[in-house]
């Protein structure tokens, strides 16, 4: 931002000659679009480079990062960065890059600490990107570095020391040397048939239901797979107990309160990311079984948990699901919507 401002000043002082000669090439100008102001650029220019270019002034401590991490990140990434389900593992794995199943983490694989600040700033938390302050971003970056034993527990990360942090795998990357394989266009006797080994696939891991009837295979979508797994679980339960399990709320039977109806929008653009599919241990919308124990308690308790956050047996509900921009009322309405859709 400062550079472009400086250039503009230079241009106005030195004149048009510099303006033209500073370009790599001189093409015809259409003069479409408007000149971006430094304020407009500052709002969107969020990227950070390994040399620290782009870092905002400020800092954050490991200590503050721990509190925030447990609220916002642990649900998916695990309390120690070990990763829940198939969510990314953040810590550990050092020395595994040559193993048959390497664990690529911030500490074992990432070449630069700046990438961590940049990524948290642009994309995290998953449910509420661009909701963190610069200070919170420093705190979380510091804490993830701490989880990787790259900084001490009393460390304070700042715009001045971030670029100095040396990552263990900083020299682990090299420029693409391809084309690296040289095959030739052989037409006859290209291989020895007596030495050929033919191996087939592992059965049962590919969604093939759309062309192999009755195949015992996964579904071809996440939603389909969840339904499939639930059906199987219910069938097992029914076989054991002889009881039929009611699975989905019948939509026509649901008569919602005004509060619940008002909560639908909030659900769609905030809660659905987890409660739409039941990820990270969250009860899925319409899943009566999953909601039953929650519905039994006082609704006010449920609302309070949703607003203030809650650590349960199946997972962690971050305060407002990480969407701190939501009002308490919006969260309450969304809770009503979910509860009334799931009983």
């Amino acid at each position: 931002m400062f550079r472009s401002l400086k250039n503009t000043l230079l241009v106005s002082i030195v004149g048009a000659t510099l303006f033209v000669s500073s370009s790599v090439y001189a093409g015809e100008k259409y003069s479409f679009g408007k000149t971006a102001t430094s304020e407009e650029i500052a709002g969107w220019d969020i990227d950070i480079r390994p040399d620290g270019k782009g870092l905002p002034d400020g800092g954050g401590s490991v200590e503050d990062g721990e509190v925030l991490y447990e609220q916002l990140c642990a649900t998916c990434h695990g309390l120690f960065g070990e990763g829940e389900a198939r969510w990314p593992v953040l810590a550990g794995g050092v020395g595994t890059l040559t193993e048959e199943r390497p664990t690529k983490t911030v500490g074992s694989y990432w070449p630069y600490a700046s990438t961590l600040y940049d990524y948290i700033r642009r994309a995290m938390p998953f449910t509420a990107p661009r909701s963190l302050t610069n200070e919170q971003t420093y705190q979380l970056t510091a804490y993830v570095l701490y989880l990787n034993e790259l900084v001490d527990e009393d460390f304070v990360l700042t715009h001045e020391n971030l670029a100095q942090i040396e990552m263990p795998n900083k020299d682990g990357f090299f420029i693409d040397p391809r084309p690296d394989v040289k095959n030739i266009r052989c037409m006859k006797d290209c291989d020895d048939p007596s030495k050929m080994k033919i191996e087939g696939t592992l059965k049962g891991i590919t969604p093939v239901g759309h062309f192999i009837e009755g195949a015992d295979a996964p579904a071809a979508s996440h939603e389909g797979q969840e339904d499939l797994e639930r059906e199987k679980a219910h069938a097992r339960k029914a076989a054991l107990t002889g009881e039929e399990v009611q699975t989905e709320a019948a939509p026509e039977a649901v008569k919602m309160s005004d509060k619940a109806i008002a909560g639908e929008d909030t659900f769609d653009n905030a809660c659905k990311v987890c409660h739409g599919s039941g990820i990270a241990g969250s009860p899925k919308l319409g899943d009566i079984e999953a909601w039953a124990p929650r519905v039994k308690q006082d609704l006010a308790v449920l609302v309070e948990h949703a607003i203030k956050g809650f650590s349960g047996a199946s997972g962690i509900m971050p305060p407002k699901g990480g969407r701190v921009d939501l009002s308490d009322q919006q969260v309450e309405e969304a809770v009503y919507y979910m509860v009334e859709s799931s009983k």
Binding site: R3, S4, V11, S22, V24, Y25, G27, K29, Y30, S31, G33, K34, T35, A36, E40, I41, W44, D45, D47, P50, R86, E100, P102, Y109, W110, S114, T115, D118, A123, P129, R130, F173, F174, I175, D176, R178, V181, K182, C186, K188, C190, D191, P193, M196, K197, I198, E199, T201, L202, I205, T206, P207, H210, F211, P218, A220, S221, H222, V273, S277
Partner: protein, 441 residues
């Protein structure tokens, strides 16, 4: 109403309706006829449902039911959809690959596609924060950094530039990545479906860079999306000035939301991840940024624990799409072996087919358009009489690069690189025509 349905022929019914509506005002008459037609359609449909139960009634010498009734009129479906009998032609995913569907990938049904163009609704999807719903009037592209004049473009501004339309493939570098250590997927859609090809319309990035005036220190460009992931990649200026496109349309219509509506980058021949969707920002800099998608991801880990970075090019590749596991051979006799080939370095020059697992090869024909960095269809007409085949295709591009064997790739790269597996693929054809995925080592 009941009187109408009892009547046998459509033409008579139309005449009857017209007669009965005589004397009504124009509006009343139109309304009356419309309702009558609807009843007619409903009646006919009931009849069809009843008669198709019997076998063969739509076959010669019988007149098919659809030839004895009326279909729907114009604009019944303002945006047309495929026949209901094609409902199996859809994108699919392998659910265990990713934690959920918002940051995930789906595959195009290559087994059902013809020619080289992927229909817009079937182009494979890759999202990191789901599909944003962007209002084009509020969408902006900011171009700034080491430039003489940083500019913010509206969609209208961008569409004022002289446009170009080019047919280019787009492929995820992880296409086939599940197969590095062994054959895994039992279907073509999942072995090769992270691949699509469209006609893209937009402005060469070069034009926009000339507009802002790149300064001499400018060597790299950061492209960034407007989605929740704010997906970002560093792109060398050399590529940006060569053939990178900033596009707003695909296959004749505005981009689909899944494909970056209203604006995306297309880096022809390069890994799909660099073709940033929902493009909102381009920053010119003197060095690459080393963001998550060019360090943690999209780097290729070698056996010695070191990794290749900036592995941009999608090298020459090919696959037989018919037969394949989804399209087994149903009849002995003449058969057309068909497939697609593509190269991130230019045009496909030749495709050869092997029936014996790569011991001997026969040249196939290229058919239709042969374009640089686009899918190219190949074909070989032959005969099959129940003999087992180990069917392979091998593509050669205009640079002379010959698609490698998996053995050759593994010898150099090991089994952990995930990305850029472009090796010769093998389908095993059994005596009953069934096709399965195998690997030869």
């Amino acid at each position: 109403m009941s009187k109408i349905i009892k009547r046998p022929g459509t033409r008579e019914l139309m005449a009857q309706l017209a007669k009965e509506s005589d004397g009504l005002s124009i509006n009343e008459r139109r309304d009356f006829l419309r309702k009558g037609m609807m009843a007619l359609g409903g009646g006919a449909a009931t009849m069809v449902a009843g008669t198709t139960m019997a076998q063969g009634t739509n076959l010669p010498p019988m007149e098919p039911s659809w030839g004895k009734m009326l279909g729907h009129g114009v604009v019944e479906f303002p945006y047309g959809q495929p026949s209901k009998y094609e409902s199996h032609v859809v994108r699919r995913t392998v659910p265990w690959l990713t934690a959920e569907s918002i940051s995930s990938i789906s595959m195009s049904p290559l087994q059902d596609l013809k020619g080289i163009i992927t229909p817009n609704g079937l182009v494979f999807e890759r999202y990191h924060a789901g599909v944003p719903q962007i209002n084009p009037e509020e969408h902006r592209l900011m171009v700034h950094g080491l430039v003489d004049r940083p500019i913010i473009f509206t969609m209208d501004d961008l569409m004022r530039f002289p446009s170009v339309s080019q047919i280019k493939f787009i492929e995820c570098p992880a296409n086939g990545g599940m197969e590095w250590k062994g054959a895994q997927m039992e279907a073509l859609q999942f072995t090769h479906g992270m691949l699509s090809c469209c006609e893209w319309t937009g402005v060469p990035l070069r034009t926009l860079l000339e507009e802002v005036g790149v300064q001499t220190e400018g060597k790299w460009i950061l492209a960034e999306g407007a989605d929740g992931a704010h997906m970002s990649r560093s792109i060398p200026l050399e590529k940006a000035l060569d053939d990178t496109l900033v596009v707003y349309a695909q296959n004749g219509e505005m981009l689909r939301p899944e494909q970056g509506y209203p604006l995306r980058l297309i880096n022809p021949g390069w890994e799909g991840n660099t073709s940033i969707k929902w493009l909102r920002r381009l920053e010119v800099g003197d060095k690459p940024w080393y963001h998550r998608e060019e360090t943690s991801k999209y780097t290729d880990l070698m056996e010695d624990g070191r990794a290749r970075k900036f592995t941009f090019v999608q090298e020459t590749n090919s696959v037989i799409t018919s037969p394949c596991p989804e399209n087994p051979i149903k009849n002995s006799g003449v058969i057309e072996i068909e497939g697609v080939a593509w190269s991130g370095r230019g045009k496909i020059k030749q495709v050869d087919v092997s029936f014996d697992g790569g011991i001997s090869w026969t040249p196939a024909k290229l058919k239709g358009l042969v374009l640089s960095k686009a899918l190219t269809r190949f074909s070989l007409v032959t005969k099959w009489d129940g003999q087992p085949w180990l069917l392979q295709a091998r593509a050669i591009d205009e640079t002379g690069y010959v698609q490698p064997t998996l053995k050759q790739l593994r010898e150099i790269r090991g089994g952990n690189s995930i990305y850029h597996k472009n090796s010769i693929h093998t389908w095993k054809v059994a005596a009953n025509g069934e096709v399965t995925n195998v690997q030869i080592s």
